[in-house]
Symmetry: C2
DNA sequence: ACTATCAGGTTGTCAGACAGGTTGCCGACA
DNA sequence: TGTCGGCAACCTGTCTGACAACCTGATAGT
Protein backbone atom coordinates (compact mmCIF):
# COMPACT_ATOMS: atom_id res chain seq x y z
CA UNK A 1 0.00 0.00 0.00
CA UNK A 2 2.49 2.57 -1.21
CA UNK A 3 0.60 5.79 -1.63
CA UNK A 4 3.71 7.79 -2.50
CA UNK A 5 2.31 11.22 -1.84
CA UNK A 6 -0.31 11.77 -4.42
CA UNK A 7 -2.06 13.77 -1.77
CA UNK A 8 0.85 15.66 -0.35
CA UNK A 9 1.23 17.74 -3.51
CA UNK A 10 -1.95 19.60 -2.71
CA UNK A 11 -0.46 20.67 0.57
CA UNK A 12 -2.90 22.04 3.08
CA UNK A 13 -2.48 25.79 3.24
CA UNK A 14 -1.20 27.19 6.48
CA UNK A 15 -3.34 29.51 8.55
CA UNK A 16 -1.50 32.71 7.55
CA UNK A 17 -1.77 31.67 3.90
CA UNK A 18 -5.52 31.35 4.22
CA UNK A 19 -5.81 34.78 5.76
CA UNK A 20 -3.66 36.29 3.05
CA UNK A 21 -5.83 34.64 0.44
CA UNK A 22 -8.95 35.91 2.14
CA UNK A 23 -7.68 39.47 2.34
CA UNK A 24 -6.33 39.61 -1.19
CA UNK A 25 -9.58 38.09 -2.36
CA UNK A 26 -11.53 40.83 -0.63
CA UNK A 27 -9.21 43.35 -2.20
CA UNK A 28 -9.66 41.88 -5.64
CA UNK A 29 -13.42 41.80 -5.29
CA UNK A 30 -13.42 45.44 -4.29
CA UNK A 31 -14.66 44.82 -0.76
CA UNK A 32 -11.39 46.32 0.42
CA UNK A 33 -10.14 49.42 -1.33
CA UNK A 34 -6.99 51.53 -1.21
CA UNK A 35 -7.07 53.76 1.85
CA UNK A 36 -9.38 51.48 3.80
CA UNK A 37 -8.35 50.49 7.28
CA UNK A 38 -8.10 46.82 8.07
CA UNK A 39 -9.77 45.53 11.23
CA UNK A 40 -7.35 45.44 14.14
CA UNK A 41 -5.18 42.40 14.52
CA UNK A 42 -7.13 41.18 17.54
CA UNK A 43 -10.39 41.66 15.65
CA UNK A 44 -9.08 39.68 12.69
CA UNK A 45 -7.77 37.01 15.04
CA UNK A 46 -11.22 36.64 16.56
CA UNK A 47 -12.92 36.71 13.20
CA UNK A 48 -10.73 33.96 11.76
CA UNK A 49 -10.53 32.07 15.06
CA UNK A 50 -6.75 32.13 15.23
CA UNK A 51 -4.05 33.66 17.40
CA UNK A 52 -2.82 37.17 16.78
CA UNK A 53 0.60 35.86 15.76
CA UNK A 54 -1.02 34.15 12.81
CA UNK A 55 -2.75 37.33 11.73
CA UNK A 56 0.50 39.22 12.12
CA UNK A 57 2.32 36.80 9.84
CA UNK A 58 -0.38 37.24 7.22
CA UNK A 59 -0.28 41.02 7.41
CA UNK A 60 3.49 41.01 7.40
CA UNK A 61 3.39 39.21 4.06
CA UNK A 62 1.04 41.79 2.63
CA UNK A 63 3.22 44.57 3.96
CA UNK A 64 6.19 42.98 2.27
CA UNK A 65 4.44 43.44 -1.06
CA UNK A 66 3.42 46.98 -0.25
CA UNK A 67 -0.22 45.98 -0.38
CA UNK A 68 -0.84 47.23 3.13
CA UNK A 69 0.98 49.74 5.29
CA UNK A 70 0.66 49.89 9.04
CA UNK A 71 1.23 52.65 11.53
CA UNK A 72 1.86 52.06 15.19
CA UNK A 73 -1.04 53.08 17.35
CA UNK A 74 -3.32 53.65 14.38
CA UNK A 75 -3.84 50.53 12.32
CA UNK A 76 -3.12 48.89 9.00
CA UNK A 77 -4.30 50.37 5.72
CA UNK A 78 -4.64 49.20 2.15
CA UNK A 79 -1.95 50.99 0.17
CA UNK A 80 -2.37 52.66 -3.19
CA UNK A 81 -1.77 50.40 -6.19
CA UNK A 82 1.32 52.35 -7.20
CA UNK A 83 2.87 51.63 -3.81
CA UNK A 84 3.29 47.94 -4.59
CA UNK A 85 6.81 46.65 -4.37
CA UNK A 86 6.41 43.23 -5.93
CA UNK A 87 4.91 41.62 -9.01
CA UNK A 88 3.21 38.33 -8.41
CA UNK A 89 0.77 36.18 -10.29
CA UNK A 90 -1.98 33.98 -9.03
CA UNK A 91 -1.22 30.35 -9.95
CA UNK A 92 -4.74 30.10 -11.32
CA UNK A 93 -3.74 32.34 -14.22
CA UNK A 94 -1.55 29.62 -15.64
CA UNK A 95 -4.48 27.28 -16.02
CA UNK A 96 -6.66 29.48 -18.16
CA UNK A 97 -5.68 29.71 -21.79
CA UNK A 98 -6.47 33.41 -22.14
CA UNK A 99 -4.54 34.41 -19.05
CA UNK A 100 -1.60 32.22 -19.97
CA UNK A 101 -1.36 33.90 -23.35
CA UNK A 102 -1.35 37.32 -21.73
CA UNK A 103 1.42 36.29 -19.38
CA UNK A 104 3.43 34.91 -22.25
CA UNK A 105 3.00 38.16 -24.11
CA UNK A 106 4.60 39.88 -21.13
CA UNK A 107 7.41 37.42 -20.99
CA UNK A 108 8.01 37.57 -24.71
CA UNK A 109 8.20 41.33 -24.69
CA UNK A 110 11.02 41.06 -22.20
CA UNK A 111 12.71 38.22 -24.02
CA UNK A 112 12.68 40.12 -27.28
CA UNK A 113 14.35 43.12 -25.67
CA UNK A 114 17.12 41.11 -24.12
CA UNK A 115 17.65 39.23 -27.37
CA UNK A 116 18.38 42.53 -29.07
CA UNK A 117 20.71 43.53 -26.26
CA UNK A 118 22.44 40.18 -26.47
CA UNK A 119 23.10 40.74 -30.16
CA UNK A 120 25.11 43.79 -29.17
CA UNK A 121 26.93 42.44 -26.15
CA UNK A 122 27.68 38.90 -27.30
CA UNK A 123 31.19 37.49 -27.23
CA UNK A 124 32.57 34.51 -29.09
CA UNK A 125 32.30 32.39 -26.01
CA UNK A 126 28.63 33.27 -25.68
CA UNK A 127 27.99 32.09 -29.21
CA UNK A 128 29.73 28.80 -28.53
CA UNK A 129 27.58 28.28 -25.48
CA UNK A 130 24.37 29.01 -27.32
CA UNK A 131 25.23 26.74 -30.20
CA UNK A 132 25.99 23.98 -27.73
CA UNK A 133 22.50 24.38 -26.33
CA UNK A 134 21.04 24.13 -29.83
CA UNK A 135 22.97 20.93 -30.28
CA UNK A 136 21.47 19.55 -27.08
CA UNK A 137 18.02 20.33 -28.41
CA UNK A 138 18.69 18.45 -31.60
CA UNK A 139 19.96 15.47 -29.67
CA UNK A 140 16.93 15.50 -27.43
CA UNK A 141 14.65 14.80 -30.38
CA UNK A 142 15.86 11.24 -30.74
CA UNK A 143 15.37 10.54 -27.04
CA UNK A 144 11.95 8.99 -27.05
CA UNK A 145 11.86 8.68 -23.30
CA UNK A 146 12.94 12.01 -21.84
CA UNK A 147 13.20 14.02 -25.02
CA UNK A 148 10.42 16.47 -24.22
CA UNK A 149 11.88 17.11 -20.81
CA UNK A 150 15.39 17.62 -22.16
CA UNK A 151 14.13 19.89 -24.90
CA UNK A 152 12.21 21.96 -22.39
CA UNK A 153 15.27 22.29 -20.21
CA UNK A 154 17.44 23.30 -23.16
CA UNK A 155 14.97 25.99 -24.18
CA UNK A 156 15.14 27.33 -20.68
CA UNK A 157 18.92 27.27 -20.80
CA UNK A 158 18.95 29.21 -24.04
CA UNK A 159 16.81 32.01 -22.65
CA UNK A 160 18.85 32.18 -19.51
CA UNK A 161 22.01 32.37 -21.52
CA UNK A 162 20.63 35.15 -23.68
CA UNK A 163 19.57 37.13 -20.62
CA UNK A 164 22.99 36.65 -19.09
CA UNK A 165 24.70 37.73 -22.29
CA UNK A 166 22.57 40.85 -22.26
CA UNK A 167 23.76 41.30 -18.68
CA UNK A 168 20.26 41.92 -17.41
CA UNK A 169 19.70 40.16 -14.12
CA UNK A 170 16.24 41.59 -13.66
CA UNK A 171 15.10 40.24 -16.99
CA UNK A 172 16.46 36.86 -16.04
CA UNK A 173 14.57 36.92 -12.76
CA UNK A 174 11.38 37.95 -14.47
CA UNK A 175 11.60 35.29 -17.14
CA UNK A 176 12.47 32.64 -14.59
CA UNK A 177 9.47 33.61 -12.52
CA UNK A 178 7.04 33.05 -15.37
CA UNK A 179 8.81 30.01 -16.78
CA UNK A 180 9.01 28.44 -13.35
CA UNK A 181 5.30 28.80 -12.79
CA UNK A 182 4.48 27.46 -16.22
CA UNK A 183 6.76 24.49 -15.70
CA UNK A 184 5.10 23.87 -12.36
CA UNK A 185 1.71 23.72 -14.00
CA UNK A 186 2.85 21.60 -16.93
CA UNK A 187 4.35 19.08 -14.58
CA UNK A 188 1.04 18.68 -12.80
CA UNK A 189 -0.93 17.90 -15.95
CA UNK A 190 -0.34 15.11 -18.41
CA UNK A 191 2.51 16.02 -20.74
CA UNK A 192 1.57 14.29 -23.94
CA UNK A 193 1.86 15.79 -27.35
CA UNK A 194 1.50 13.53 -30.32
CA UNK A 195 3.14 15.93 -32.74
CA UNK A 196 5.92 16.69 -30.30
CA UNK A 197 8.90 15.83 -32.44
CA UNK A 198 7.88 17.69 -35.56
CA UNK A 199 6.96 20.75 -33.52
CA UNK A 200 10.29 20.50 -31.75
CA UNK A 201 12.11 20.47 -35.06
CA UNK A 202 10.37 23.64 -36.13
CA UNK A 203 11.10 25.27 -32.78
CA UNK A 204 14.76 24.40 -32.94
CA UNK A 205 15.15 25.92 -36.38
CA UNK A 206 13.46 29.09 -35.17
CA UNK A 207 15.88 29.32 -32.30
CA UNK A 208 18.82 28.55 -34.54
CA UNK A 209 17.89 31.58 -36.64
CA UNK A 210 17.73 33.66 -33.46
CA UNK A 211 21.17 32.55 -32.39
CA UNK A 212 22.42 33.27 -35.89
CA UNK A 213 21.13 36.83 -35.69
CA UNK A 214 22.78 37.30 -32.31
CA UNK A 215 25.99 35.89 -33.74
CA UNK A 216 25.85 38.40 -36.60
CA UNK A 217 25.43 41.18 -34.04
CA UNK A 218 22.20 42.34 -35.63
CA UNK A 219 19.81 43.60 -32.93
CA UNK A 220 16.90 44.21 -35.28
CA UNK A 221 17.13 40.72 -36.74
CA UNK A 222 17.49 39.26 -33.26
CA UNK A 223 14.30 41.03 -32.29
CA UNK A 224 12.48 39.68 -35.31
CA UNK A 225 13.67 36.14 -34.88
CA UNK A 226 13.00 36.22 -31.17
CA UNK A 227 9.50 37.47 -31.81
CA UNK A 228 8.93 34.82 -34.41
CA UNK A 229 10.00 31.96 -32.20
CA UNK A 230 8.58 33.00 -28.88
CA UNK A 231 5.23 34.08 -30.25
CA UNK A 232 4.98 30.78 -32.07
CA UNK A 233 6.03 28.90 -28.97
CA UNK A 234 3.39 30.71 -26.94
CA UNK A 235 0.77 29.75 -29.49
CA UNK A 236 1.90 26.15 -29.54
CA UNK A 237 1.75 26.04 -25.76
CA UNK A 238 -1.69 27.59 -25.67
CA UNK A 239 -2.90 25.14 -28.31
CA UNK A 240 -2.31 22.26 -25.97
CA UNK A 241 -5.47 20.47 -25.05
CA UNK A 242 -4.72 20.22 -21.36
CA UNK A 243 -5.52 23.84 -20.60
CA UNK A 244 -8.91 25.02 -19.52
CA UNK A 245 -10.79 27.20 -21.97
CA UNK A 246 -11.98 30.50 -20.60
CA UNK B 1 10.42 74.96 15.37
CA UNK B 2 8.38 73.19 12.73
CA UNK B 3 10.38 70.15 11.73
CA UNK B 4 7.69 68.76 9.44
CA UNK B 5 9.02 65.25 9.26
CA UNK B 6 12.08 65.46 7.14
CA UNK B 7 13.43 62.61 9.15
CA UNK B 8 10.35 60.44 9.27
CA UNK B 9 10.62 59.72 5.55
CA UNK B 10 13.64 57.57 6.14
CA UNK B 11 11.59 55.39 8.41
CA UNK B 12 13.55 53.11 10.68
CA UNK B 13 13.27 49.59 9.39
CA UNK B 14 11.35 47.16 11.55
CA UNK B 15 13.08 44.17 13.08
CA UNK B 16 11.62 41.63 10.64
CA UNK B 17 12.66 43.87 7.74
CA UNK B 18 16.22 43.89 8.97
CA UNK B 19 16.30 40.13 9.23
CA UNK B 20 14.84 39.76 5.76
CA UNK B 21 17.47 42.14 4.44
CA UNK B 22 20.19 40.22 6.24
CA UNK B 23 19.02 36.88 4.87
CA UNK B 24 18.48 38.07 1.31
CA UNK B 25 21.86 39.75 1.50
CA UNK B 26 23.48 36.50 2.52
CA UNK B 27 21.65 34.82 -0.31
CA UNK B 28 22.80 37.39 -2.81
CA UNK B 29 26.37 37.18 -1.64
CA UNK B 30 26.30 33.42 -2.02
CA UNK B 31 26.70 32.68 1.67
CA UNK B 32 23.31 31.01 1.49
CA UNK B 33 22.60 28.80 -1.49
CA UNK B 34 19.57 26.93 -2.79
CA UNK B 35 19.08 23.77 -0.82
CA UNK B 36 20.82 25.08 2.27
CA UNK B 37 19.02 24.79 5.56
CA UNK B 38 18.47 27.94 7.55
CA UNK B 39 19.39 27.95 11.22
CA UNK B 40 16.40 27.10 13.37
CA UNK B 41 14.08 29.91 14.34
CA UNK B 42 15.28 29.91 17.92
CA UNK B 43 18.88 29.98 16.76
CA UNK B 44 18.17 32.93 14.49
CA UNK B 45 16.28 34.65 17.28
CA UNK B 46 19.29 34.30 19.55
CA UNK B 47 21.70 35.38 16.84
CA UNK B 48 19.75 38.55 16.05
CA UNK B 49 18.78 39.14 19.66
CA UNK B 50 15.06 39.20 18.98
CA UNK B 51 12.01 37.11 19.81
CA UNK B 52 11.08 34.12 17.74
CA UNK B 53 7.91 35.83 16.51
CA UNK B 54 10.09 38.42 14.79
CA UNK B 55 12.12 35.74 13.07
CA UNK B 56 8.93 33.98 12.07
CA UNK B 57 7.56 37.12 10.45
CA UNK B 58 10.78 37.53 8.49
CA UNK B 59 10.79 33.94 7.32
CA UNK B 60 7.10 34.09 6.49
CA UNK B 61 7.85 36.97 4.13
CA UNK B 62 10.56 34.97 2.42
CA UNK B 63 8.24 32.00 2.16
CA UNK B 64 5.64 34.22 0.55
CA UNK B 65 8.11 34.92 -2.25
CA UNK B 66 9.05 31.29 -2.58
CA UNK B 67 12.59 32.10 -1.54
CA UNK B 68 12.49 29.64 1.34
CA UNK B 69 10.35 26.62 2.00
CA UNK B 70 9.83 25.09 5.42
CA UNK B 71 8.85 21.65 6.57
CA UNK B 72 7.41 20.91 9.96
CA UNK B 73 9.81 19.06 12.18
CA UNK B 74 12.69 19.52 9.76
CA UNK B 75 13.51 23.14 9.15
CA UNK B 76 13.48 25.91 6.56
CA UNK B 77 15.41 25.65 3.30
CA UNK B 78 16.47 28.01 0.57
CA UNK B 79 14.35 27.16 -2.45
CA UNK B 80 15.56 26.78 -6.01
CA UNK B 81 15.53 29.99 -8.05
CA UNK B 82 12.84 28.67 -10.34
CA UNK B 83 10.56 28.20 -7.34
CA UNK B 84 10.17 31.94 -6.82
CA UNK B 85 6.63 33.22 -6.93
CA UNK B 86 7.25 36.96 -7.01
CA UNK B 87 9.32 39.50 -8.90
CA UNK B 88 10.73 42.29 -6.81
CA UNK B 89 13.44 44.86 -7.22
CA UNK B 90 15.78 46.36 -4.70
CA UNK B 91 15.08 50.11 -4.41
CA UNK B 92 18.80 50.69 -4.80
CA UNK B 93 18.55 49.67 -8.46
CA UNK B 94 16.60 52.81 -9.26
CA UNK B 95 19.46 55.01 -8.15
CA UNK B 96 22.13 53.63 -10.40
CA UNK B 97 21.99 54.73 -13.99
CA UNK B 98 22.97 51.37 -15.43
CA UNK B 99 20.47 49.44 -13.40
CA UNK B 100 17.72 51.92 -14.12
CA UNK B 101 18.29 51.56 -17.84
CA UNK B 102 18.06 47.80 -17.58
CA UNK B 103 14.81 48.02 -15.68
CA UNK B 104 13.41 50.41 -18.22
CA UNK B 105 14.36 48.01 -20.97
CA UNK B 106 12.22 45.42 -19.23
CA UNK B 107 9.36 47.79 -18.83
CA UNK B 108 9.58 48.98 -22.39
CA UNK B 109 9.54 45.48 -23.75
CA UNK B 110 6.23 44.95 -22.02
CA UNK B 111 4.87 48.34 -23.03
CA UNK B 112 5.70 47.71 -26.67
CA UNK B 113 3.84 44.43 -26.64
CA UNK B 114 0.70 45.85 -25.10
CA UNK B 115 0.82 48.80 -27.50
CA UNK B 116 0.61 46.34 -30.38
CA UNK B 117 -2.24 44.51 -28.69
CA UNK B 118 -4.01 47.79 -28.06
CA UNK B 119 -3.81 48.61 -31.75
CA UNK B 120 -5.87 45.50 -32.39
CA UNK B 121 -8.36 45.76 -29.56
CA UNK B 122 -8.98 49.50 -29.50
CA UNK B 123 -12.47 50.95 -29.72
CA UNK B 124 -13.52 54.45 -30.63
CA UNK B 125 -14.01 55.34 -27.02
CA UNK B 126 -10.48 54.23 -26.24
CA UNK B 127 -9.13 56.56 -28.89
CA UNK B 128 -11.10 59.46 -27.49
CA UNK B 129 -9.69 58.79 -24.07
CA UNK B 130 -6.13 58.61 -25.30
CA UNK B 131 -6.43 61.79 -27.31
CA UNK B 132 -7.81 63.53 -24.25
CA UNK B 133 -4.70 62.50 -22.36
CA UNK B 134 -2.51 63.92 -25.13
CA UNK B 135 -4.41 67.15 -24.83
CA UNK B 136 -3.73 67.25 -21.11
CA UNK B 137 -0.04 66.84 -21.84
CA UNK B 138 -0.06 69.77 -24.24
CA UNK B 139 -1.84 71.91 -21.69
CA UNK B 140 0.64 70.97 -19.00
CA UNK B 141 3.47 72.57 -20.94
CA UNK B 142 2.24 76.09 -20.26
CA UNK B 143 1.87 75.38 -16.55
CA UNK B 144 5.16 76.69 -15.26
CA UNK B 145 4.40 75.65 -11.70
CA UNK B 146 3.17 72.07 -11.78
CA UNK B 147 3.67 71.33 -15.45
CA UNK B 148 6.28 68.63 -14.99
CA UNK B 149 4.14 66.90 -12.45
CA UNK B 150 1.03 67.04 -14.61
CA UNK B 151 2.97 65.83 -17.63
CA UNK B 152 4.37 62.93 -15.66
CA UNK B 153 0.90 61.99 -14.46
CA UNK B 154 -0.51 62.18 -17.97
CA UNK B 155 2.23 59.93 -19.32
CA UNK B 156 1.34 57.43 -16.65
CA UNK B 157 -2.32 57.69 -17.55
CA UNK B 158 -1.56 57.02 -21.20
CA UNK B 159 0.34 53.84 -20.47
CA UNK B 160 -2.34 52.64 -18.11
CA UNK B 161 -4.98 53.30 -20.71
CA UNK B 162 -3.05 51.42 -23.35
CA UNK B 163 -2.61 48.45 -21.03
CA UNK B 164 -6.30 48.48 -20.22
CA UNK B 165 -7.21 48.68 -23.88
CA UNK B 166 -5.00 45.67 -24.50
CA UNK B 167 -6.95 44.02 -21.67
CA UNK B 168 -3.79 42.85 -19.96
CA UNK B 169 -4.04 43.31 -16.24
CA UNK B 170 -0.71 41.66 -15.58
CA UNK B 171 1.09 44.07 -17.87
CA UNK B 172 -0.59 46.95 -16.10
CA UNK B 173 0.54 45.63 -12.74
CA UNK B 174 4.06 45.15 -13.95
CA UNK B 175 4.33 48.60 -15.48
CA UNK B 176 2.81 50.19 -12.42
CA UNK B 177 5.33 48.42 -10.22
CA UNK B 178 8.29 49.86 -12.07
CA UNK B 179 6.77 53.28 -12.64
CA UNK B 180 5.76 53.52 -9.02
CA UNK B 181 9.27 52.80 -7.84
CA UNK B 182 10.77 55.27 -10.29
CA UNK B 183 8.33 57.96 -9.25
CA UNK B 184 9.20 57.26 -5.63
CA UNK B 185 12.86 57.86 -6.36
CA UNK B 186 12.30 60.92 -8.51
CA UNK B 187 10.21 62.50 -5.79
CA UNK B 188 13.05 62.11 -3.32
CA UNK B 189 15.65 63.85 -5.51
CA UNK B 190 15.55 67.32 -6.92
CA UNK B 191 13.32 67.46 -9.96
CA UNK B 192 14.89 70.16 -12.07
CA UNK B 193 15.38 69.98 -15.75
CA UNK B 194 16.32 73.12 -17.62
CA UNK B 195 15.28 71.84 -21.00
CA UNK B 196 12.06 70.42 -19.62
CA UNK B 197 9.57 72.07 -21.94
CA UNK B 198 11.32 71.40 -25.21
CA UNK B 199 11.89 67.79 -24.22
CA UNK B 200 8.23 67.54 -23.24
CA UNK B 201 7.18 68.82 -26.66
CA UNK B 202 9.24 66.16 -28.37
CA UNK B 203 7.86 63.48 -26.06
CA UNK B 204 4.29 64.52 -26.69
CA UNK B 205 4.70 64.30 -30.44
CA UNK B 206 6.21 60.85 -30.09
CA UNK B 207 3.25 59.72 -28.09
CA UNK B 208 0.84 61.36 -30.51
CA UNK B 209 2.32 59.24 -33.27
CA UNK B 210 1.86 56.16 -31.10
CA UNK B 211 -1.77 56.96 -30.48
CA UNK B 212 -2.19 57.58 -34.17
CA UNK B 213 -0.85 54.12 -34.97
CA UNK B 214 -3.17 52.56 -32.44
CA UNK B 215 -6.04 54.51 -33.94
CA UNK B 216 -5.18 53.16 -37.40
CA UNK B 217 -5.23 49.65 -35.97
CA UNK B 218 -1.68 49.01 -37.11
CA UNK B 219 0.11 46.78 -34.56
CA UNK B 220 3.48 46.91 -36.30
CA UNK B 221 3.45 50.70 -36.44
CA UNK B 222 2.27 50.85 -32.83
CA UNK B 223 5.24 48.72 -31.87
CA UNK B 224 7.62 50.98 -33.76
CA UNK B 225 6.22 54.19 -32.36
CA UNK B 226 6.07 52.76 -28.86
CA UNK B 227 9.67 51.67 -29.13
CA UNK B 228 10.69 55.04 -30.44
CA UNK B 229 9.05 56.98 -27.65
CA UNK B 230 9.75 54.77 -24.69
CA UNK B 231 13.34 54.10 -25.61
CA UNK B 232 13.88 57.82 -26.03
CA UNK B 233 12.10 58.52 -22.75
CA UNK B 234 14.29 56.00 -20.99
CA UNK B 235 17.37 57.68 -22.40
CA UNK B 236 16.16 61.12 -21.40
CA UNK B 237 15.47 59.88 -17.89
CA UNK B 238 18.84 58.22 -17.62
CA UNK B 239 20.53 61.41 -18.88
CA UNK B 240 19.35 63.29 -15.85
CA UNK B 241 22.16 64.48 -13.69
CA UNK B 242 20.62 63.42 -10.41
CA UNK B 243 21.40 59.75 -10.86
CA UNK B 244 24.50 58.10 -9.57
CA UNK B 245 26.97 56.89 -12.16
CA UNK B 246 27.96 53.28 -11.85
C1' DA C 1 -13.38 78.87 23.23
C1' DC C 2 -9.20 76.78 24.08
C1' DT C 3 -5.90 73.69 26.05
C1' DA C 4 -3.96 70.07 28.81
C1' DT C 5 -4.76 65.58 30.26
C1' DC C 6 -6.06 61.04 30.09
C1' DA C 7 -8.25 56.64 28.88
C1' DG C 8 -8.71 53.34 25.40
C1' DG C 9 -7.35 51.19 21.34
C1' DT C 10 -3.48 49.63 18.12
C1' DT C 11 0.89 48.00 16.49
C1' DG C 12 5.52 46.07 17.68
C1' DT C 13 7.98 43.07 20.52
C1' DC C 14 8.88 39.70 24.05
C1' DA C 15 8.53 35.31 26.79
C1' DG C 16 6.86 30.86 27.43
C1' DA C 17 4.14 26.93 26.31
C1' DC C 18 2.36 22.93 23.76
C1' DA C 19 1.02 19.91 19.71
C1' DG C 20 2.39 17.49 15.77
C1' DG C 21 6.05 16.01 12.94
C1' DT C 22 10.92 14.40 11.67
C1' DT C 23 15.48 12.76 12.34
C1' DG C 24 18.98 10.06 14.17
C1' DC C 25 20.78 7.36 17.73
C1' DC C 26 20.89 3.37 20.47
C1' DG C 27 19.77 -0.73 22.24
C1' DA C 28 17.22 -5.13 21.74
C1' DC C 29 16.77 -8.98 19.11
C1' DA C 30 17.50 -12.35 15.54
C1' DT D 1 26.68 -8.86 12.42
C1' DG D 2 22.55 -6.97 10.63
C1' DT D 3 18.01 -5.34 11.25
C1' DC D 4 14.30 -3.32 13.46
C1' DG D 5 11.74 -0.77 17.08
C1' DG D 6 11.46 2.74 20.12
C1' DC D 7 12.84 6.88 22.12
C1' DA D 8 14.92 11.38 22.84
C1' DA D 9 15.99 15.67 20.83
C1' DC D 10 14.79 19.03 17.76
C1' DC D 11 11.89 21.77 14.55
C1' DT D 12 7.91 24.24 12.88
C1' DG D 13 3.12 25.87 13.65
C1' DT D 14 0.04 27.76 16.77
C1' DC D 15 -1.64 29.68 21.09
C1' DT D 16 -1.62 32.71 25.23
C1' DG D 17 -0.53 36.57 27.86
C1' DA D 18 2.05 40.53 28.65
C1' DC D 19 4.14 45.16 28.05
C1' DA D 20 6.06 49.40 25.68
C1' DA D 21 5.39 53.01 22.42
C1' DC D 22 2.16 55.43 19.99
C1' DC D 23 -2.08 57.71 18.25
C1' DT D 24 -6.83 59.38 18.65
C1' DG D 25 -10.66 61.35 20.63
C1' DA D 26 -13.13 62.68 24.56
C1' DT D 27 -13.09 64.94 28.83
C1' DA D 28 -12.21 68.18 32.21
C1' DG D 29 -10.36 72.46 33.57
C1' DT D 30 -9.22 77.17 32.57
Amino acid sequence: MINLKVKSLERSPSLPEEIVASLTGALHKGELRPGDRLPSETALANEFGVARTVVREAISQLKYDGVVQSRVGVGAFIAQPQERTAFRISPACFQKRRELLKLLRLRNGVVIEVAADAAVARSNRDIVRMEAILKQMREAISDRERGAERHFEAERQLIHTIAKVADNEHALNFIMLIDGQIAEKLRSVAVKNTKATELATVAIEEQARLVEAIKRGDPAAARDKAREHYDNAAQRLADRADLADV
